[in-house]
Point group: C2
C-alpha cells in the first residue's frame, strides 16, 4: 500500500465520516414536479433523422466480456438497408467494416422497423472510434470510446439509471446524466413504458429509442430487463415474454457463457458487472441459478476488485411501493452476495431513491432464526435508483419510521454516478433533478469489499 493511497484513503474517510453522521436520513425535499406525462409524439425530442431510410434509435452496448467490442444497434423503417457499420480511429476516414444482421417483429397490431445489430470487435482499449451507418445523404456518424484494459486500478465512471420512460422528468434525468462525465450507463430496467399504452404500442418503443440516442449512440448502455419489458398480453395473443425487449436490445450473454440474454456478466476497467433477471427463473436448479453460481466463482477480484450486481426489483426497499417484492430473489441469492463480498447491488423498480447500509438477513430461518436484517460488513450496499422519471410518477410513501437497514431515501427523480478511483476507493453520488438543476444529494465513499484497508479505516458502510 503506497503512501499516496493511504493519504487518499484517509481524506476520503474524513469525507465519509461527515456523510455517515448525517445518515439514516429520509429527505424532506419536496420536488417541484413536472407533470408525469410522456413527452408528446411530435416533440423534437423524438425527431426522426432526416433523409430516406435514415438509421434511427442508434444505441450501443458492450459486445464481449472484457470491453474490446461493442454491438451497434439501429432501426431503419422504409426498407432494411445495409446492416453494415463503417468505423475507424480517425474521424470521417473509415477504413474498417463490420457486417450485422437485422430482424423485426410484430406485436398485435404493431409492426416494428428493421432492427439492426452489428458486432464491432477486436477494438483497442482506451481508444476513440468513429462510426458511420446508413448510406448517401441519410448516413449518420457517431463515436464511442473503448474502456481501459481490465485492470484493478483502472479508473472508470459509471452512471446508473432506472425506470426512465419518456417524460420531461426522464429528459431532465438524461440531460443531467450526460453532463456527469460518466462513461457508460448501468441501466437497471424499465425502458420505454410502451406497455402502458393500449396494445403495448410499439410506437413508444421507437420514440424511446430516438430519445436515448443522444447518449446511447456514444457510450454503451448495459441492459437489465424490468417488469415493463415483460409485455405479457395473453388477451392480445402475445404470450412470449420480453418480445420487444429481446428484439431491440442485445446483450453479450454468450461471452459470459450464459444461456439467455436476460442474465450475463461483463468486465469493464476495474469492475465485474453481473446482470440478473428478476422475472426469469432464478431459484435453485434453474439456469440463472447455475450460471450465477459459476460466474461468482470465477470473478477475479485481483483483476476486477469492484463486484457490482444489477437487477430490477430491489432486495431491500422500505418504500410502500413494491415492498418486499424482492424477497423471492433475496431468498435465492442474498447469501451468495455476502459470501462473495459484492460491493453494490443496484436496482430500480421503486420510483424513488434509497441506499441501504451494509446489512444482511441471511440468518433468517423459518423454523428458528433471526428476524431482522443485521449489520454485516461482508454484505453489499443496496441502492434503488428507480427514479429515472417515467409516467407512473413517484413512490412517495416510505415506511415510517425509517428501518435500521435504510441509510438514505428520497422520493424524487434523479440518477447516480459511481466513480471507481482505484482498487480501494470509489466515489458515489445520487443526483437529484432539482427544478432543472442536478444537485448531488447523497454521497458515499465506497471502500472496496475485497481490497480496502479495513485494518486502517473499517467503518460500517
Amino acid at each position: 500500500m503506497e503512501f499516496r493511497s493511504i493519504l487518499l484513503g484517509f481524506s476520503l474517510y474524513l469525507v465519509y465520516f461527515v456523510d455517515i453522521v448525517i445518515s439514516r436520513h429520509t429527505s424532506s425535499f419536496v420536488r417541484s414536479e413536472w407533470p408525469s406525462t410522456d413527452i408528446p409524439l411530435d416533440s423534437e425530442v423524438f425527431a426522426v433523422p432526416k433523409g430516406y431510410n435514415a438509421p434511427e434509435q442508434v444505441h450501443i452496448t458492450q459486445g464481449d466480456y472484457d470491453g474490446k467490442a461493442v454491438v451497434i444497434s439501429w432501426v431503419t423503417t422504409s426498407e432494411p438497408g445495409k446492416s453494415e457499420v463503417l468505423y475507424s480511429k480517425e474521424e470521417h476516414k473509415y477504413d474498417r467494416t463490420a457486417q450485422g444482421r437485422y430482424t423485426n417483429y410484430t406485436f398485435y397490431d404493431y409492426t416494428s422497423g428493421y432492427l439492426h445489430h452489428c458486432l464491432v470487435d477486436d477494438l483497442e482499449y482506451d481508444t476513440k472510434y468513429y462510426y458511420k451507418i446508413g448510406t448517401g445523404d441519410s448516413a449518420r456518424e457517431f463515436w464511442f470510446q473503448t474502456p481501459p484494459a481490465v485492470d484493478p486500478d483502472a479508473p472508470y465512471a459509471f452512471g446508473i439509471i432506472g425506470d426512465l420512460g419518456q417524460t420531461y422528468n426522464s429528459l431532465s434525468t438524461l440531460q443531467h446524466y450526460m453532463h456527469s462525465g460518466a462513461q457508460s450507463v448501468l441501466f437497471v430496467g424499465d425502458l420505454s413504458y410502451s406497455d402502458r399504452y393500449e396494445h403495448n404500442d410499439g410506437i413508444r418503443w421507437d420514440t424511446w429509442g430516438r430519445f436515448i440516442e443522444r447518449s446511447a449512440a456514444y457510450q454503451p448502455w448495459i441492459w437489465t430487463a424490468g417488469n415493463h419489458e415483460i409485455e405479457y398480453r395473453p388477451e392480445l395473443g402475445e404470450v412470449a415474454t420480453f418480445k420487444p425487449y429481446l428484439h431491440r436490445v442485445t446483450t453479450p450473454y454468450l461471452a459470459s457463457k450464459s444461456s439467455s440474454p436476460m442474465w450475463y456478466a461483463v468486465r469493464r476497467a476495474s469492475a465485474h458487472i453481473i446482470v440478473l433477471s428478476s422475472y426469469s427463473p432464478f431459484v435453485k436448479y434453474t439456469p440463472q441459478w447455475w450460471w450465477l453460481k459459476g460466474e461468482l466463482q470465477q470473478v477475479d477480484r485481483e483483476r476486477t476488485p469492484w463486484l457490482i450486481v444489477l437487477m430490477h426489483a430491489p432486495l431491500y426497499n422500505s418504500n410502500e411501493a413494491h415492498y418486499m417484492e424482492g424477497e423471492s430473489m433475496r431468498a435465492a441469492f442474498e447469501s451468495w452476495f455476502v459470501q462473495y463480498k459484492v460491493d453494490i447491488v443496484f436496482a430500480g423498480h421503486v420510483h424513488a431513491y434509497e441506499r441501504s447500509y451494509r446489512i444482511s438477513n441471511i440468518n433468517y430461518n423459518v423454523t428458528s432464526g433471526n428476524r431482522y436484517p443485521v449489520p454485516d460488513k461482508c454484505a453489499p450496499v443496496y441502492v434503488t435508483v428507480g427514479d429515472g422519471g417515467n409516467q407512473e410518477g413517484l413512490a412517495l410513501r416510505f415506511s415510517d419510521p425509517q428501518p435500521d437497514y435504510s441509510a438514505f431515501r428520497e422520493a424524487s427523480y434523479g440518477h447516480s454516478t459511481l466513480e471507481l478511483k482505484n482498487r480501494t476507493h470509489a466515489l458515489y453520488h445520487w443526483n437529484r433533478n432539482d427544478d432543472g438543476k442536478q444537485v448531488p444529494t447523497d454521497f458515499v465513499v465506497f471502500h472496496n469489499q475485497y481490497c480496502s484497508v479495513e485494518s486502517f479505516f473499517h467503518i460500517q458502510q
Copy 2:
C-alpha cells in the same frame, strides 16, 4: 346441513381427535430398505410390448378443464405409425376415432421415438371407455373411467405420488398405489431421473414410460414438473429447459387459459386442482403470477369446494434436505393460499414424508414483522410426498426438535391418497412402503376450508 352429514362429521371428528392427540410426530420407524438403485434395463418391469412398432409407454392425462376429455400419449420406435386412437364404451367394438399428432426430439446423442399425443374429447362423465392404439398384431387395448360431473358432493379418490424414479422402491410405491382404489394420480414432479445418467440418457425416459404404463394407461396422471425435468445441460449444448418433459408429457393448459404447459388447472369431480411450476418464473408480474391470480379468482367453491395446489418444491419442510428452498415461492404465493383458503398444498422434492398443521407465515416482514409461522385456520395443510422411491435415496435428517408447524414426518417411501367424500369431509392417508406391504401410517380427516361446519367442530388441522 342434513343429519347424516352431521353424524358423519361427528364420527370423523372423533377419529380426528384420536389422531391429533398423537400428532406432532417424528416417526421412529426404520425402513428396511431395498438398495436405491434403478431396476436394470433388461428387467421385465421395463419389457417392450411384443410386435412390430407396438405402441409403448402409454399414458393418459386429463384433456380439458372439467374432465370430459383425455389426452392419450404413447411412443412408437420403428416408424411413426398412425397417430390414431379407436375408442368406445363397449369393449372390442370401437365406433369412434380420434386423430392425434406426433413429435420427437434429440438430446445430445439420444434420439427419441415418435411421441404421440391424441386428444379424445366429448366424453360422457362417469363412464368406462375402451381404447385401442397401434395396428394389426401390434395393436394394444386399454380402458379408462371418466370422472363424475363437476359437483360439490361428487366423491373422488386421488393418489399423490412424487419423486418416483424407477427403483424397486418405486415399483413398490406404484404397486401399492394401484391397490389403493384411487382414480387418478396427482404427480408432484421428478419423474424418470433420467438426468442422473451420463448425458441425461433418454433411454431411462423410455424405461420409465414403460414402467408407469401399468397405471398411467388406465387412469389420468396429472403432471407437475420437478427439478429433474429441467435437464439444463449447457456443456452438452442443451439449454432449452424441460425439453424431454415437454415432448413426452402433455397438460391441458390452454383449457385454463394458461400460456404455458408448465402451470395450469383442472377441475375433477369436487376438486379444483392448480398445478404450479417451481422452476418457471413466478414472481409478481410474470405470466405464472398473473395466471394464478386470475385462476384463484374464478375458483367456484360452490361447485368445487376442494381447492388443491400441486408444486414440486415444498413451501414448508423441516428436513435438512432442500430446507427453505421453497422460500422464494412462499414469498410470492403464500398470502393467496391463505386468502383463498386452499385446502391442501401437495409437494415433492424432499425424499421423505411430512405434513404440516394449518399455519402461515404471511405476517413475516423484513422491516418489523413476525418471525415464525403461526397457527392460521385459513391456511392450507402442506404435505410433502417426495418419497416415491427414486435412486437418490431417502432424506433421513429432520431438524431437531420438530418445529411447531410440522405435524407428522417420517423418512421412508410411500404414497398418499385423498378421498373426497362430499363437500365437507375428506379422508387422507399416507401409506408407508413397509417391507413390501402398504401400511397406512398418517391419517387425517380434512374438513373443507370453504364448506366445513366450523361452528360445530372447528379444530386446528
